[in-house]
Assembly symmetry: C2
Homo-oligomer: 329 residues x 2
Amino acid sequence: MKKFINAVSDVENEMIQGMVKAYPQYLRKLDCGNVLVRAERKENKVALIGGGGSGHEPGHCGYIGEGILDACVPGAVFTSPTPDMIYEGIKSIDTGKGVLMMVMNYTGDVMNFEMAAEMAADEGIQVDQVIINDDVAVKDSTWTTGRRGVAGAVLVNKITGAKAESGASLEEVKAVAEKAIANVRTMGAAISPCTIPAAGRPGFEIGEDEIEIGIGVHGEPGTYRDKMMTADQITDILLERILGDLDFTGREVAVLINSAGATPLMELFIINNHVADVLASKNIKVYKTFCGEYMTSLEMAGFSITLLRLDDELKELLDAKAVTPAFTC
Amino acid sequence: MKKFINAVSDVENEMIQGMVKAYPQYLRKLDCGNVLVRAERKENKVALIGGGGSGHEPGHCGYIGEGILDACVPGAVFTSPTPDMIYEGIKSIDTGKGVLMMVMNYTGDVMNFEMAAEMAADEGIQVDQVIINDDVAVKDSTWTTGRRGVAGAVLVNKITGAKAESGASLEEVKAVAEKAIANVRTMGAAISPCTIPAAGRPGFEIGEDEIEIGIGVHGEPGTYRDKMMTADQITDILLERILGDLDFTGREVAVLINSAGATPLMELFIINNHVADVLASKNIKVYKTFCGEYMTSLEMAGFSITLLRLDDELKELLDAKAVTPAFTC
């Protein structure tokens, strides 16, 4: 394993310290542990908390700030954060208007967020949650009952954060989150694995002429392995699954071409070139496109395509002001 | 070679088309060739043009838009753009207040930009240039006479673009660019190479326990090879060279920790954690930090550290509004 790290045991702590030192205008770390909250607390709003394992940077800590998340609780690499840390996060950001937990659909995350919510409820804090499950590649997986939450979470959090920032009630904010979740779909593929520092070796082996289709965001293999194809052929496979899962015809969409970590922007743009052409041919109108590293799996080479069906409300929320380390508009 | 591409001969064209389809609100491609200009032309300002080989995405096309570049001319991967395309870019963006060429110091780039400037001058367009040469690793290289231009160019272009956006004269804009160039220094290291599509194989071989110190941005090896070290040790080597080249003591600086492509944000933050500590110990005050993919070398695993000495004018220009695909503030 060759990485720019110091001791393996220090990876998460040093990363979080380095992140806070990079972005003190956005982020503050709680003294109790690895809980990051918005540097400038905003009163009288529904507070949003996200989280999940580390290794997905900039997800999710990079989205803390005006217009998106109020707190994020990063666990160890690809490991759910603990209930006590999530609870500390909830307590820290509650303004009395309630807290919405933006939970990725992984069994450990769901369980730990629910435990934290119970602890907070015992103290009189109003807590609710939504479960993000945008991955069309699987029905169930090693990590989940039901579909996994993957890169679509970035768009869901952006939209929900904008609604919260507007001063809406917990019920209204949750309704927008559920609308976004109901309209977002993602699928990905990878050509090389990543190495979890504590494991010390790659998550799987793959040949020079092979590709994994249907990857998640934890460095696991996809749902099946195939022979390597052209970018357009791979894109066709992913789009067919996404478009077969939800009817996008005649709708406006946001497109997110997300790098799994090591895939250069050059390749994401080549992929987007074909995505845009296919969508145009199917009478699906692209409202806005994002290409880059939004939700990664360490240094995995791969990408995912996310489509989000939009209406006027979702468009306005997607475009609303956000000022965070990884997403500013 | 395993990449998300179609035919090797189509890589640059498909990338540029995919980029324009992703960001039509920022970018417009000229019909004559691979020249990208700002979608909404702004009148009565000094126009800025950048360029260089492709493969550095988001550099430089990702910085076209309000507050940074007016045009960018991407060549083939790691290959200078041709004089005729640069000339077309200059003609397209000139508003009568003159054009400043932001040239990276590579022999091919310098020569081709100069030829384009002569062609434009023959048509009565006022053109001037600055040469960006922030890399402290080399005095001369295979590609340059004098130091190479590397990631520091992103900060130089941001600052110069802000000055141009303010309506300043060509002379004033050039003076700010030269001030930024005089105050910026960069050095990098890499642990794995990249593969230029047309070459089909990695630029160099390197062992599992080795690192290249003093890399440029064209996938070439560094100035020397060493045994792999901890992130802190590598950071110390790079910072020592940067701080030995220019006196930063007691000054405020902008810090850019730039990924060469495949290095995850997790590792950049670990590096920044130590950079921040070392700078604090030397009485160097960090004004603002940027961590991410700003100027890459395809899928190379590596990073660079850039320090830019700031004064009040440069701080104000660094913070000024910019709205581009890869840099918004």
